[in-house]
């Protein structure tokens, strides 16, 4: 069944767009679209980026 889904090009493009919208929404809500948050991570004063990445990785692994 999933094979048929993978072959439907237009539907796949739509799923891609939808995934992107959700991903962008989450990134913005997480604050990682902000310059200060990114720089704060690299200066080791704000660990938001690492918290998001690690919780995403741990969830995704399951």
């Amino acid at each position: 069944m999933l094979k048929i889904l993978y072959q439907n090009t237009n539907l796949q493009l739509f799923i891609g767009l939808l995934t992107g919208v959700l991903f962008g929404f989450l990134l913005q809500k997480g604050g990682v679209t902000k310059y200060d948050v990114i720089i704060g991570q690299l200066l080791l004063t704000d660990f938001t980026v690492v918290k998001i990445m690690l919780s995403a990785v741990i969830t995704g692994m399951l």
Binding site: L2, I15, G16, T19, G20, L42, S55, V57
Partner: protein, 168 residues
Amino acid sequence: MEYLSMVQWSPYAVGIGIGILSGIAFLLSDKPIGCSTAFTRTSGMIEKLLRGGFVAEKAYYKKFAPSIDWEWMLVLGIFIGAFISSILSGEFKAIWVPMKWSDTFGHTPILRWMVALLGGVIIGFGSRWAGGCTSGHGISGTLQLAVSSWLAAICFFIGGIVTAMMIF
């Protein structure tokens, strides 16, 4: 509904959301969430537009055909999603020079633009060289426990931290 207009969510909640989203993307599309290949394809499309169809014959563009695909739509969606989110929380604004930057380097936009452009070129080069960016390697690769991705993600942070410490 209040959640939608909040300025910031807990980073753990966002992370779990991204993890689940990645799982859904693998299931429904058999694709990892990643962005940098879409930029390669776009550069191919631009080159094709300016220099003609023979561009598509290049070995690199045979591997990464210059056309709109799943990942390209994903990148488009990221812009839309982030835009919706920032509008809902009333945070949307266009800033030429971020605060942190102007504290150290002053308010001149030109310098900021030049450095941002240079940074973009280096990121583009590096992510193609490594075969992934912060999302492709850092999230989609590491959650599959790919050794190359863990190495890449650790090096992203080492490089970023050293550079940030040097310039600020």
